[in-house]
């Protein structure tokens, strides 16, 4: 016997894809198309001077753009001055360095902040609003703000009684970028951790205390294991975010410091290369994409986090 709800069910099963497809089509256009276009362009030559002749580029050039970045080879010879190939590996290292240091600091400070915010005291709501302030300030403004504070006569040198040219030195400019990034994004990590921490029943801590555990022991044995899932998700999100970092080093230090590119990340290098040729820039952005994708895959495997699974539990 055909129930009237059968036709409704049938309609609903067709409605789903209909509602989802505009989003998928748009994402294919603004993400899928560029990725494929970059891949195609990365195999085409850029305009250049060859044997004294100017070539307009555009012809198929195999993997030469990739060789330019990976082994600094320009048509079998070493690259002429002014090409950016020799900055590739330092940019990779700088980007990875920023990632490891900022994410470690964010997790440590974020945990401390979450522990404090999880205490029951008057003004908790206000404190949560306060930590959202760095999150709400646009990154470009954050960069200018720290640029001002790190100025030679700025408040940081005054407070330290130091005379450091923060944005000039190789390490001082890196430290400046790291401090600004940690300031801006730690609140996000802290709030993610707090969401899980506030769900831990107080009875657990009470029981641990009666059994003679110190506050630090309870933190290690109760808090840390129970916020581990949130911690791993936060680490994955933050790692992927720092790997593509651009705004802060681009505005705060212009990618410079030390020999002139101590804070040049992969994103900054790509933007510079766009002025020099699309082929090289496409190869570089493809390499960056592969690096980030690889790290994402490795992290998700290593942590065994299933980002989608938890989503589906709440769904009918």
């Amino acid at each position: 016997m055909a129930k009237p709800s059968d036709t409704t069910a049938h309609r609903r099963s067709r409605l789903g894809p209909l509602l989802v497809s505009p989003s998928l089509v748009l994402l294919a256009a603004v993400i899928g198309y560029p990725v494929v276009a970059a891949l195609v362009t990365s195999f085409r030559a850029d305009p250049s001077l060859k044997d004294g002749f100017f070539t307009t580029g555009g012809e198929f050039s195999g993997v030469s753009n990739y060789l330019h970045w990976l082994v600094q080879s320009c048509g079998g010879t070493s690259c002429p001055a002014g090409t950016l190939g020799d900055q590739f590996w330092t940019s990779v290292l700088v980007t990875l360095f920023f990632t490891v240091v900022t994410v470690s600091l964010e997790v440590l400070i974020g945990l401390l902040m979450a522990v404090v915010m999880n205490q029951a005291f008057a003004g908790r709501g206000l404190l949560r609003a306060v930590v959202l302030v760095p999150w709400a300030i646009p990154t470009a403004v954050t960069a200018k703000l720290w640029f001002f504070m790190f100025a030679y006569d700025g408040i940081i040198n005054r407070a330290l009684g130091a005379h450091i040219l923060w944005t000039d030195g190789a390490w001082s400019s890196r430290v400046a970028v790291i401090i600004a990034d940690v300031w801006k994004t730690t609140p996000f990590v802290a709030l993610l951790l707090l969401a899980d921490m506030s769900g831990i029943p107080g009875g657990l801590y009470e029981a641990a205390r009666i059994d003679g555990a110190s506050a630090f022991q309870s933190f290690l044995r109760i808090t840390l294991p129970l916020v581990r899932p949130a911690l791993l998700v936060a680490v994955v999100f933050r790692v992927l975010d720092v790997l593509r970092i651009y705004d802060l080093p681009a505005i705060l230090t212009q990618g410079g410091g030390g020999d002139g590119h101590a804070t040049t990340t992969l994103s900054i290098l790509t933007v510079r290369q766009i002025q020099q040729g699309y082929g090289g820039a496409s190869a570089l952005s493809t390499l960056t994409f592969v690096l980030i994708f690889g790290v994402a895959l490795a992290l998700v495997r290593a942590f065994r986090v299933n980002l989608v699974q938890s989503e589906q539990h709440g769904m009918s």
């Binding site: 789903g16 993400i31 959202l132 646009p138 790509t270």
Partner: protein
């Protein structure tokens, strides 16, 4: 058996334990608000005292705000504010209008490819903007879109839409959908049930998602710094502040930049204070649930 001595130690310990959250909170407030406070203080400080280290407001003036909006040095901060408003509003509207129905379908409607679609949207939300920059720049050069509003709005979809869908699915999943059934059983038409029951229930989630997407669009710099192509008629405020030159050559206009930063930031900070609870819910929901 406890001696009086250890009892006393226990008391001071207890008192300290009661106080430490306040000490911790004070450190957090100082760390989070200190730089922001310094920006506002500097914004109101006379340019001749730019590096005055007095911790409270001194040499107050409104000149810096005048300097921030001054266009004689080639800066167009006022126009940039308007541009950011247009770009961020358009991005948010697109993300909610297109992402809303998708999130509804992903939560409420049967679909075989649901896990795959969710995984694809999560991947898209972590996608690096720099990877789409070169092809977009090349394409927009070819079709003469560089330095137009659409060149600054369309690429924003790449992060705004996945973000909107991701947060909305978690909000929709937590909604009491039985009420829709109850309304239908009581004789309401599906349209009435949608308008009178579902929309009011979904409004807070849509609103929160809107705030977070708006903030993300307002923050965008990498794509717009190139795709605005130096056209001050469309460049957003992030680009204007990053390139702010001031009217005096060879002099970094710190106080004017801090004033511009304060103008951009104060409405956002006000929004954060008002909608704190919603934003925290949206951010954490977007990350896992």
């Amino acid at each position: 058996m406890t001696t009086t001595g250890s009892k006393h130690a226990w008391k001071t310990r207890r008192r300290w334990l009661r106080l430490w959250p306040y000490a911790g909170a004070a450190v957090i407030v100082l760390w989070c608000l200190g730089p922001f406070y310094w920006m506002v203080v500097t914004a109101f400080r006379d340019v001749g005292h730019t590096f005055d280290a007095t911790p409270w407001p001194s040499h107050p003036t409104l000149d810096n705000f005048r300097a921030a909006f001054d266009t004689s040095g080639g800066d167009h901060f006022g126009r940039a504010l308007l541009n950011s408003m247009v770009i961020a509003c358009a991005t948010t509207a697109l993300a909610l209008l297109i992402g809303g129905p998708a999130a509804y379908a992903l939560v409420r409607l049967p679909m075989r490819a649901k896990p795959k679609v969710l995984a694809a949207i999560l991947c898209a939300s972590m996608f690096p903007g720099v990877a789409i920059l070169t092809p977009m720049f090349q394409l927009f050069t070819d079709i003469k879109w560089l330095g137009t509003y659409q060149a600054l709005i369309v690429p924003n979809i790449s992060f705004a839409l996945p973000l909107a869908i991701w947060i909305l699915t978690s909000f929709f999943a937590a909604m009491p959908w039985e009420l829709e059934k109850a309304a239908l059983a009581d004789g309401a038409t599906p349209a009435q049930a949608f308008r009178k029951i579902l929309l009011p229930l979904a409004a807070p989630g849509l609103f929160t998602t809107g705030i977070i997407v708006f903030f993300a669009a307002w923050d965008e710099y990498l794509l717009s710094s190139l795709l605005s192509n130096g056209n001050p008629d469309v460049a957003p405020v992030t680009v204007a502040i990053a390139n702010f030159a001031g009217s005096q050559p060879h002099q970094v206009p710190y106080t004017a930049i801090m004033a511009a930063g304060a103008v951009v930031t104060l409405p956002l900070v006000a929004a954060v204070l008002v909608f704190q609870r919603r934003i925290v819910t949206g951010l954490t929901a977007g990350a896992f649930k």
